[in-house]
């Protein structure tokens, strides 16, 4: 069953390729042209053959007429008997005015030959190797002076047979031609598809974050190899850039974290060594708290940079968004309850996206955290995930004050915090991080009005269903 549907899938792909369509059109026109050409040539040849037969008969008729005029009916019948004796393809019949056969190799006048004067085709019986066979002939019957009837004809059974053969083989040839054409088209498309699939596979692996992949090249040096080579040069450059980016991020992280680490270490050491009664202890505690805030901000900035640079794309895997929603909501439920806010989670079935669990969870945590922070006691926060025509939506809607429409784009920028919230704790990077995580997942973050309140939606792209792995 699965195999079968795999085959259909493959067949559909092949039939939809440009190569196959071009082949099909080409084969069609080729078949039509070839058939017309062959038919025309054949028709001409047949006409020439008929004309030749008629000419021969005509020549014989005038010869025999001459004999009759010279030698009379006895002489004519002698000549005819003589010609019959040669066992050629000539057919003769000489009848007296009383319709008795005087000479010739036909037993009687064929019915169709009764139309006097014109060339006609007729069937006649003939003994051949002891058997009576029906054969076809072409000839002319006419009256001689004195009421004698003379029929002169030639056997055209072989011509007739070849004509019949031609008309029966022609459709078969056309059919075979189409069949070979379609077969060739499938072969060509399959080859083309194979080459293109290799490129597609490589590019999707790269989109997913594996920058070490290269488009495979063959030994044939064809146009696909030229394309592959160009792509590979491009990929080489991209990989170098990404590696450079990774190194920059890593060294920035290292060079800032090392002194921050020493600073925190020293403060902690002072905190441990100092007499618990010393009034400076509070200052040290405050300094440590300030250092931690610095570290938090730095980590958030670094994470945004990482998500935006694309170096985290390699960490994406199929992820059930509903499970993420359930887990994060579970983490925040007691906090909401403590603030007397109803945290509503709309249940949904499995919603698979391509993503990084930790980053998507963190983005959702930031949204819920914000919603709880800004929603007054007695309010509610609704978290839901679901499929929409646009993709897969992750929504956090609260009943807080919301964000004025004109400020919505601005709050996604780094460090922007609205005046009212400037004194509440937070780095001002929460929504920026959400936006960066959305960008990394090719998703879109929209802030809307929940009348009243804020409705934040991340729309993830629908993941394409992995094809059955029956190729290769």
């Amino acid at each position: 069953m699965a195999r079968n549907s795999g085959f259909w899938h493959w067949a559909q792909r092949v039939l939809h390729t440009q190569a196959f369509r071009i082949t099909l059109v080409f084969v069609f026109f080729y078949a039509v042209t070839a058939t017309a050409l062959v038919a025309f040539t054949w028709w001409n040849a047949q006409r020439a053959l008929d004309a030749q037969t008629d000419d021969t008969i005509e020549a014989e008729v005038s010869g025999l007429r001459e004999q009759y005029q010279r030698l009379g009916v006895i002489g004519l019948s002698d000549v005819i008997t003589g010609r019959v004796g040669q066992h050629g393809s000539g057919l003769y019949l000489l009848q007296s005015p009383t319709s008795s056969v005087l000479a010739g190799n036909l037993v009687e006048l064929p019915t169709s030959a009764k139309l006097m004067g014109n060339f006609v085709e007729f069937d006649y019986q003939r003994h051949l190797e002891g058997k009576e066979v029906t054969r076809t002939a072409r000839g002319r019957a006419f009256f001689l002076q004195g009421g004698f009837l003379l029929l002169v004809g030639r056997d055209i059974s072989d011509q007739k047979e070849s004509r019949r053969l031609f008309t029966t083989t022609l459709p078969w040839s056309v059919g075979l031609m189409l069949l070979f054409g379609i077969g060739g088209g499938i072969l060509m498309s399959r080859n083309l598809l194979r080459r293109l699939d290799a490129i597609t596979r490589t590019s999707s692996a790269i989109v997913a974050g594996d920058f070490s992949r290269r488009v495979p090249q063959t030994a044939s040096h064809d146009e696909f190899d030229a394309l592959a080579e160009n792509l590979n040069v491009m990929l080489e450059r991209t990989e170098r850039l990404m590696k450079g980016m990774r190194e920059v991020v890593d060294s920035v992280a290292h060079d800032l974290r090392t002194p921050l680490n020493r600073l925190r270490n020293r403060l902690e050491e002072m905190q441990r060594r100092i007499d618990p009664e010393d009034p400076h202890l509070d200052d040290i505690d405050a300094a440590i708290a300030e250092t931690d805030r610095l570290i938090t901000t730095f980590n958030a900035l670094l994470l945004i940079a990482e998500a935006d640079s694309g170096i985290t794309r390699g960490t994406m895997a199929p992820l059930d968004l509903s499970a993420v929603v359930a887990d994060v909501a579970d983490l925040y439920a007691p906090l909401a309850e403590e603030k007397e806010i109803v945290l509503d989670v709309a249940p949904a079935g499995v919603l698979t996206i391509e993503g990084n669990r930790s980053l998507v969870s963190q983005a959702l945590a930031n949204l819920i955290d914000n919603a709880i922070k800004y929603t007054p006691a007695g309010g509610h926060v609704a978290v839901s995930a679901g499929e929409t025509p646009r993709g897969i939506d992750l929504t956090v809607a609260d009943s807080g004050p919301g964000i004025p429409a004109e400020d919505r784009a601005r709050v996604l920028e780094r460090f922007v915090r609205l005046e009212k919230s400037r004194n509440s704790p937070g780095t001002g990077l929460g929504l920026s991080l959400v936006a960066a995580v959305a960008r990394m997942h090719d998703a879109k973050l929209t802030l809307g009005d929940n009348t009243p309140g804020l409705k934040a939606t991340i729309t993830f792209p629908r993941t394409f269903v992995k094809k059955p792995a029956n190729r290769e």
Partner: protein, 225 residues
């Protein structure tokens, strides 16, 4: 306990060694990967703290080599690198835990305590007990003084983790990592709310308190002395 510290930033190393010694551990130090690996393979340690970036041989290779030689001592990675996939790389290379610099010393201490404790092959337990609090891991129910405690699944896991580390400091990050499997820092301290709810269930109305807050560090569950 004997601990190996491999760290090339000498100031951070000095601080780490002093702190661990003050906490009562015996410490050896190394400033590069080569010496670190030699020490790890030649002397018995209960735990190693290894920096990710080291001269001569980087931390990942040191641990991979140790594991290659059949050395199973618990390893905690310290890293100043950016984080998203580095943690995964560290754990794949054979590390047991991963801490990003700058870290709080109490966090480090709690984590290596947990690592060294984990090393002792614990018999497969079906019941955990701290004082008169009992947790049945098969029926997933809890009782105190024979009274049933109504626990949500997540509360059960939280309590199970605390009880498996009874008598040890457990930090908020450790709880977030092992009970929720999150490696990020929620802006609001949601863990505290979970703990206070759990505390209301297991300690409220009883004479002795089992779930303690350790100031500046985290939480600890322990029976009355």
């Amino acid at each position: 306990m004997r601990i190996l510290v491999v760290e090339d930033d000498l100031e951070a190393q000095r601080y780490l060694v002093n702190g661990l010694k003050e906490a009562g551990h015996v410490v050896d130090d190394a400033a590069d990967g080569d010496i670190g690996l030699t020490l790890a393979l030649s002397r018995p340690y209960d735990c190693a703290i290894i920096d990710r970036m080291l001269p001569k041989m980087d931390g990942l290779t040191v641990v991979a080599e140790m594991r290659e030689h059949g050395n199973t001592m618990p390893v905690l990675f310290l890293s100043a690198l950016s984080e998203v996939d580095d943690r995964v790389k560290g754990l794949k290379a054979g590390g047991d835990d991963y801490l990003t610099k700058p870290y709080a010393f109490v966090e480090l201490l709690a984590r290596i305590d947990a690592l060294m404790r984990r090393r002792a092959p614990a018999a497969v337990k079906t019941k955990l007990a701290v004082g008169d609090l009992e947790l049945d891991l098969l029926t997933r129910t809890g009782t105190r003084e024979g009274q049933a405690i109504d626990l949500q699944p997540r509360e059960f896991r939280l309590l199970e983790y605390l009880m498996r580390h009874a008598g040890q400091v457990v930090t908020r990050t450790m709880l977030l990592e092992s009970v929720w499997e999150y490696h990020f820092d929620p802006q609001t301290n949601v863990i505290d709310v979970h703990i206070s709810r759990l505390r209301a269930k297991i300690d409220k109305g009883f004479q002795s308190q089992l779930l303690h807050t350790v100031r500046g560090a985290g939480y600890m569950i322990r029976g009355a002395k």
